[in-house]
Symmetry: C2
Subunit: 163 residues, 2 copies
């Protein structure tokens, strides 16, 4: 594979990752629903749970990072690639962490946990749960893309070394 | 750094990661406590929550993998190192995922979530919560060690290439 082809694949992967993280962030931030019980109105929103806040912050950091690296890649400042490879790895782990934590909370929201006495809430706030599910799907794609970004960068290094 | 020094560091990191994942698994599996309310006894154990089960399975997979790679490293079959580098990366992400999900559920267990009506349970089953906290500490160390394992493997490749 030529160098320009490798750069093109890297740019496509980073563009897709940028799209996925921005989508995950926007869909999570706009998740909102309210329910009435005993004449009181309850509002469900992402900021009610620290884990969902962490998810939004992590996706935001990854979006900004993807954009900066895209600009660097396009300007051909390849002297930074060693540093970028390490940061790619950290971002892949950050995205994995945020989606896993958010998925765990979303699971309790959907199924509850009868042993702990935590009731599911999706029956009361279905719109909120649909939004969160959408954010999780986008958030699940992002670390997979970053895994491929890291693998492709490592492949470039290894191919350089042995072929 | 000489090759033998690099191999030694890799062995030490993998031994530490093996210890951390085994400790996390054992401490989580042995977490157990019961509480009484209205003449009924409630038992808290890791298997009551699918996320804690996932944590135990992930730590188990990582333990077995660390042991196998240690045996391979000691037998000097270094032809597999490219495959091992990819698997190291996957294990690092698996460990990150499992600790993040388990920490999210443990956070709800400790603090609850008043918006969702989920009450904290640590007041009723403190022994269970202490065990889970211990498992989380060990489980938190493991992905950090794997991050260093991946970085040290990549460093070996990059050093080979440029120095």
């Amino acid at each position: 594979m030529t160098k320009s082809k490798r750069v093109l694949i890297s740019i496509i992967l980073r563009l897709l990752a940028f799209g996925a993280t921005v989508a995950a962030m926007v869909v999570m931030v706009t998740s909102h629903d309210s329910a009435q019980a005993f004449n009181l109105t309850f509002t469900a929103k992402y900021s009610n749970d620290p884990v969902f806040k962490y998810f939004v912050i992590a996706e935001g950091i990854a979006s900004a990072y993807s954009l900066i690296v895209l600009l660097i890649t396009c300007s051909q400042k390849s002297s930074l690639w060693r540093f970028i490879l390490i940061l790619d790895l950290v971002i892949a782990m950050l995205l994995t962490s945020s989606i896993s934590a958010a998925a765990a909370i979303a699971h309790v929201g959907k199924k509850g946990n009868s042993h702990a006495g935590w009731l599911p809430i999706c029956g009361q706030v279905p719109k909120f749960c649909d939004h969160v599910s959408g954010a999780l799907v986008a958030g699940f794609i992002a670390p997979i893309l970053y895994l491929f970004i890291v693998l492709s960068s490592m492949h470039s290094v290894i191919t350089h070394l042995f072929l």
